[in-house]
Amino acid sequence: MYLDLWQLLAGLVHWLMVDIIGPIFGWLSFHGIEGWLTRPETLYFITVILVVLIVFVVGMLVSITLIWQERKMLGRFMDRRGTQTGPIGLFQNFADALKTLQKEIIVPANADKLIYNAAPVIIIGTSLFLMATIPYSEGFYASDSDLSLILTFAIFSIVPFGVLLGGWASNNKYTLIGGMRAAAQLISYEIPMLLSVVSVVILAGSLSLNDIVWYQQAHIWLFIPLIIGFIVFLIAMVAEVERIPFDLPEAEAELVEGWGTEYGGLRFGLIMMSEYARGFIGSALATLLFLGGWDGPFKGIVPDGLWFLAKVFIVFGIFIWMRAALPRVRTDQILAIGWKKLLPLAVVNIFIAILFKTAGWF
């Protein structure tokens, strides 16, 4: 059972335009407008806008819920109650957002103003752009490109560029070190992550996220044969979304708030938001690539999207658990882990995938 967003909205728009608004203009004798409104291109355009809007809103809601999940789960891990604003603390994020809207916007006097202002745009823009490529269920997606996997990872790796720019432009030593760390860390973890994804592509034989999920529905959830790849992917993803134990760019202990030290007010709020959006994308990718996406039991009763979201929350819960249990690793150690441990493991994983493929087991 799934909701076909495109079909539904196309039908809705068609009904709205052709049967209600169009005739009203027709009755008012604005036949030109009626004709323009009921053209298929117009209908498609409106549908696209609506779909993107809905996918964006759902993605943001999920990201906000992830923040809430993190606060509550972390609170429980730490033997306290966590946030209490609103029913079970659900409104805390809205309060934070409303507050950041009202804060003064400060640009440091010695900052490079253009880049200082552009860096958050790069970070937030690319993070939100990623939501377009993630399918929630068979019919609930904004775009279904044949190359959506490549597109996703390509956009995913723009952020370190923005972090480096922002860290440099803030004209602060902490942000500079944070930005450098971000660049070093994210570049070195890109490789094991992509290699572990390659094994999925080898088995599934497609670069489309939808196809990969269909493959898993038809055969087996890929984390079972590719358990090494799954672990490598999860660890590299933690580093990519800059969470403890790999949150060196914003290491709070030594670099006050890391590369974002000089960003306050609304920019700070949006950067926080985009971090969790990236966390959502990271868990969603793990779900889609390894955990069978929206596949799950009771397909007739439970909507597909719910399975997908449940898995996303579980994967993010693992991230939170890691945060509660582990300290931060050091710069040299994180690079050592990336190059000396994860990279060989990812290569081994590719060999396993090739073995399975040639043996024809999956």
Binding site: A253, A324, A325, P327, R330, T331
Partner: protein, 361 residues
């Protein structure tokens, strides 16, 4: 990147107090370091020259707020040495027990502080949770959570309230279970060990020459504990041993402090057994001190604390000098920091147990 100086402080999450660590970094590697202190200097030693002897006790509490009892205790010891006052037996036991409880509380504060230093907030909250229990004990004993104003020259202010010993035993039982939890969380965690083992080793010779005392010194393998080498109160009658590790690295300092917490629990239990059940808890000290000097040393949670009083026959001290353990330990920090990474600064400094109130005085 070229070499640059970074100011870590006065406002910095690493400081746990108020000081400024200037580090010169080459990329991520520290090439030089220089602590800048004095942000909390309020002229304590000058001010106490204008206070009567009993009035100094609450001031001594505020020397180091992490372990206020030990500081008012060492002041009382020094004043008793100056005035020649002998403390009743039961008061000695109460003082020693409070000392050890304060040591646990202070070490818990340290444990709480190193959690965020290493990037893990959970330890902070766990340690704060147990610290509250010890604060409750102090609260029922002295009426305050942090600054107790409890010891007096010649004894302690009041006797333990009824049922205090029962609560104490319960708390200690509970706490020992929790200690296992911390060790599960830290010692058995490979990432924690990765951050701590072989970090900033300090040889025994260097450590003792630089004046490092307390757990940091014992972590370097030097058997030196004022409670053992220069016993005060009743420590020579108790059955306990020094906690020493030979490695000298950050992990050894961590282990020594964790072992000391267990040892403190053992000492308190023994005190409870040996303590006289009743008896006087205070003798009346003279109002004015004789002309002369008094000196007392004791083992603060951070190291060796020393107070040196000069009396001039009036009711105010002529001079009161405080030897603060962290003051000296901090002066040794550049030696430990050099050639390590910026990311190691919080773990190395946090492991020394920062308390700036006593350092700046």
């Amino acid at each position: 990147m070229a070499k640059m100086w970074i100011n870590m402080g006065p406002q910095h999450p690493m400081t746990h107090g108020l000081w400024n660590l200037r580090v010169e970094v080459d990329g991520e590697t520290i090439t030089d370091a220089e602590p800048v202190i004095g942000y909390l200097h309020r002229g304590w030693e000058k001010m106490v020259e204008d206070r009567h002897y009993p009035q100094i006790i609450p001031m001594a509490d505020r020397l180091c707020y992490g372990s206020s009892f030990t500081w008012s205790h060492v002041y009382c010891l020094a004043a008793e040495d100056l005035m020649g006052v002998e403390v009743p037996e039961r008061a000695k036991y109460i003082r020693v027990m409070s000392d050890e409880l304060q040591r646990i509380g202070s070490h818990l504060m340290w444990l709480a502080a190193i959690g965020p230093d290493l990037g893990n907030l959970t330890i902070f909250l766990y340690a704060m949770r147990e610290r509250e229990l010890f604060m409750d004990l102090f609260q029922s004993l002295c009426g305050a959570r942090m600054t107790y104003n409890f010891p007096r020259i010649g004894g302690v202010r009041n006797d333990a309230p009824p049922n205090w010993e029962r609560d104490l035993v319960r708390t200690l039982d509970y706490f020992e279970k929790r200690m296992d939890e911390y060790e599960d969380l830290v010692d058995r965690n490979s990432v924690f060990r990765m951050r701590m083992v072989d970090l900033a080793p300090l040889s025994a010779k260097d450590a003792i020459n630089l004046g490092v005392t307390g757990p940091s010194l014992r972590g370097s393998g030097v058997k030196y504990d004022v409670r053992h080498n220069d016993p005060y109160e009743i420590y020579d009658e108790l059955d306990w041993h020094m906690c020493v590790r030979d490695e000298g690295d950050v992990y050894a300092r961590y282990r020594v402090r964790m072992d000391e917490m267990r040892m403190s629990v053992q000492i308190v239990r023994e005190c409870l057994k040996k303590m006289p059940k009743s008896g006087p808890i205070r003798v009346k000290p003279p109002r004015t001190a004789p002309v002369g000097t008094g000196m007392a040393r004791m083992e603060d949670p951070r190291g060796e604390s020393l107070m040196y009083i000069i009396g001039d026959g009036t009711d105010k001290p002529f001079r009161l000098k405080v030897r603060s353990p962290f003051f000296v330990t901090l002066s040794a920090s550049p030696v430990m920091l050099r050639s390590y990474k910026v990311a190691d600064v919080p773990s190395i400094m946090g492991m020394l147990d920062v308390c700036m109130g006593e350092t700046d005085r």
